[in-house]
């Protein structure tokens, strides 16, 4: 049990605490590529919102190491119960990028048929479970799924991500308590970005750290520099191995920072000092990792430029492809409420389709999402 900050890579890109990377150069480059691509994806997502091409965006800037390096320690058949700031995992698990933009647009290419707000992805083919807006609700699900894995005698784990604010919800508490009792193979990753919209962590809880909360459930816990790819990777990897071996759950606090506003509807300057922001800008997980890779000669400037260019092109193409598609069909208003459409919904479907034919499509006077 450790609530001291675990850190292997300092802000200048130097390895500290006698750390030696366990990943080979190729893997390190790949990790870097993923982070670059995710950063570009995230920038463009916000821009699309600013340009009015999507209705809302919620970003992960500054939290790339926290979610990418941790998920990198998983097998593909391990399940992810995400929050909304982990798009890098979908990119890592090779979901076609345009699909993610289809979700943001909410068009017919969205596997969820345009039913949720942007950035609420779900991709069963890569074991990335559906994202919910209501916070912390996914945490008990991860416990249930991992109970099932254990019950089935599979050596899989379930990982769930959530923010610091979300640890205040009852569902955080009940989930960790259940996991402690049943020793489920669950990895709880709190991305402590120190803010819950406008509420700083100091007003969120008086506990010394998030990691210490694991004690309340008899769950081994670690506090990690969440902007340090190495620390995040190693601690997660150890937790996963322990879980696979029947050693039970782990709580990991990735101490990081939200470099953007909460979402496209938020303006962090209303409540957050510029100094604090500037300070954390210097701790950017990508810059730090880049410095290390450059100094080790694992990548060079050209590599960086070409990766950035590649990322831009990939994203451009993906957006183009996504924007070609149409709205979901009227039928999608009625499917998937139940396995089969019940008779009352069939009636409502018939009436609605008739009406839209008779009167023309309803006028779209929706307002822009305000938050």
């Amino acid at each position: 049990m450790s609530t001291e900050l675990i850190k292997y890579l300092d802000e200048e890109g130097n390895l500290i605490n006698n750390y030696k990377p366990s990943l080979d150069e190729k893997k390190l480059r790949y990790l870097y590529d993923l982070m670059i691509l995710t950063r570009e994806f995230d920038d463009r997502g916000l821009k699309l919102q600013r340009q009015g091409r999507i209705g809302f965006y919620i970003g992960c800037k500054g939290q790339e190491a926290s979610h990418i390096a941790s998920a990198f320690a998983l097998n593909d058949d391990d399940w992810i119960f995400p929050s909304y700031r982990e798009p890098g995992i979908l990119i890592m698990r090779k979901v076609p990028l345009y699909k993610l933009f289809c979700q943001m647009i909410g068009n017919e290419g969205d596997p969820c048929h345009g039913r949720q707000m942007p950035c609420h992805y779900s991709h069963r083919e890569v074991n990335f479970v559906s994202i919910s807006s209501p916070l912390a609700t996914q945490i008990p699900h991860a416990v249930g799924a991992s109970y099932a894995m254990k019950y089935n005698k599979e050596k899989k784990v379930a990982v769930t991500y959530f923010g610091d604010g979300s640890t205040s919800e009852g569902d955080f508490h009940v989930a960790l308590n259940f996991a402690g009792v049943y020793k489920t193979p669950t990895i709880f990753i709190c991305e402590n970005n120190q803010w819950a919209i406008s509420v700083p962590i100091t007003k969120q809880t008086a506990s010394e750290s998030i990691a210490i909360k694991g004690l309340a459930y008899g769950i081994e816990s670690f506090k990690v520099d969440g902007n340090d790819v190495f620390a995040v990777y190693e601690v997660t990897k150890k937790a996963i191995e322990k879980a696979r071996d029947g050693g039970g759950p782990t709580l990991i606090e990735n101490y990081t920072y939200r470099l953007g506003s909460h979402s496209s509807s938020d303006d962090a300057t209303r409540y957050r000092s510029n100094q604090e922001y500037e300070l954390w800008l210097k701790k950017d997980p990508i810059i730090r990792f880049e410095k290390y890779l450059l100094s080790e000669g694992i990548i060079n400037k050209d590599y960086i430029d070409s990766q950035k260019k590649f990322a831009e092109e990939e994203i451009n193409n993906a957006i183009k492809q996504a924007e070609k598609l149409k709205n979901p069909s009227l039928e999608t208003l009625f499917t998937d409420v139940y396995e089969d459409i019940p008779s009352n919904l069939k009636e409502q479907m018939k009436n609605l389709i008739d009406e839209q034919k008779r009167l023309g499509e309803s006028e779209d006077n929706s307002l822009a999402f305000p938050l």
Binding site: S122, V129, S130, P140, Y151, D171, F178, Y338, P342
Partner: protein, 324 residues
């Protein structure tokens, strides 16, 4: 055929389904060694072990949240909430997660679970052991809601619910747990969800109810029949999906309707039944649609026998619409 109580029929259905399919798992407070506070899970812990009959910590949101995760992963959990009155800490998980998972994931994930819970009054439980809050759930798209009224239906509906691929709220009328016995075949059989039954046929007045109100309605209807008012009783059995056809056919025949439910009158599921009839069969109506229901107050303790709908009240309503 064995004469079983409603509780025994439920226990039997659980046992048989657990034998048939090892994905079926029970979890809840005191469901294990203790067999549940009503003994609905009696003997299951002994037969299936603590991994399949799981005593949980005291947290309804955890019970349902964990069951959702199990179901998404492919198990068929049957979480028990000890009393329906204690379901609310799990309300978020039920209405925002369980009910919407299939929809929001575009059908990629489903949540095949059966949430069993005893509901209703008549056992001197006061306002925290007597609630009938089915209307919160019937107003929540994505859920199915089932309420048996007798041992035979209880077993057949529970088996259907367990095999259903959508989340089902299975409400057990606790007042009837041990007060009625009925024939229950030992072999497996199912009663399809969404089909009402008509335990009493009649031509003059339609009485619509479900669960613990059925014996009360039947007793009132029999009295009415004796007085020459031919009364039909519809037992909905499943509230969602609703068997509108059976309701409307009966109403079109009788033109006179009494709806009976235990919950507070305002906004109860009976209000929906009335609204459907007023929307789709008003031309056939020859009298007001009367609702005999609980008062718009919490459930009392000492005076519960005065609070609850009883045969006298239902009988008066039948007479009133008949003579209208």
């Amino acid at each position: 055929m064995a004469q079983l109580t409603l509780l025994q029929a439920i226990n039997q259905a659980l046992k048989e389904e657990m034998r048939r399919d090892n994905k079926v798992i029970i979890l809840g407070e005191d469901v294990g060694l203790n067999g549940g506070v009503f003994r609905a899970t009696e003997g299951l812990f002994q037969e299936f072990g603590e991994e399949r009959v799981i005593d949980t910590p005291l947290a309804e949101s955890g019970i349902i949240g964990m069951a959702i995760g199990m179901a998404m992963y492919g198990l068929r959990p049957i979480p028990e909430i000890q009393f329906m009155d204690f379901i609310y800490p799990a309300f978020e998980q039920i209405v925002n997660e369980m009910a919407k998972m299939r929809y929001r994931s575009g059908g990629q994930y489903n949540v095949p679970l059966v949430l069993r819970t005893p509901y209703g009054g008549g056992i001197r439980g006061g306002h925290y052991h007597s609630q009938s809050s089915e209307a919160y759930f019937t107003h929540t798209p994505g859920l199915k809601v089932v309420v048996p009224s007798n041992p035979y239906d209880a077993k057949g509906l529970l088996i259907s619910s367990i095999r259903d691929n959508d989340p089902v709220l299975f409400l057990e009328p606790k007042k009837l747990y041990r007060t009625i016995k009925g024939e229950v075949p030992e072999n497996e059989y199912i009663i399809p969800l969404g089909k009402a039954s008509i335990p009493l046929q009649g031509d003059d007045v339609t009485v619509i109810a479900y669960g613990a109100m059925i014996p009360i309605c039947i007793s009132a209807a029999k009295k009415a029949n004796e007085e020459g008012i031919s009364t039909e009783v519809i037992d909905l059995r499943t509230l969602i999906p609703l068997d509108k056809e059976t309701i409307l056919n009966s109403v079109k025949k009788t033109g006179k309707v009494v709806i009976v439910y235990e919950a507070p009158k305002t906004g109860g599921f009976g209000s929906e039944l009335s609204a459907i009839i007023a929307e789709e069969a008003i031309e056939y109506l020859e009298a007001p649609i009367l609702r005999i229901a609980g008062l718009d107050t919490p459930y009392p303790y000492t005076l519960e026998h005065i609070y609850s709908p009883d045969p006298r009240r239902v009988y008066e309503a039948i007479k009133k619409v008949y003579n209208f």
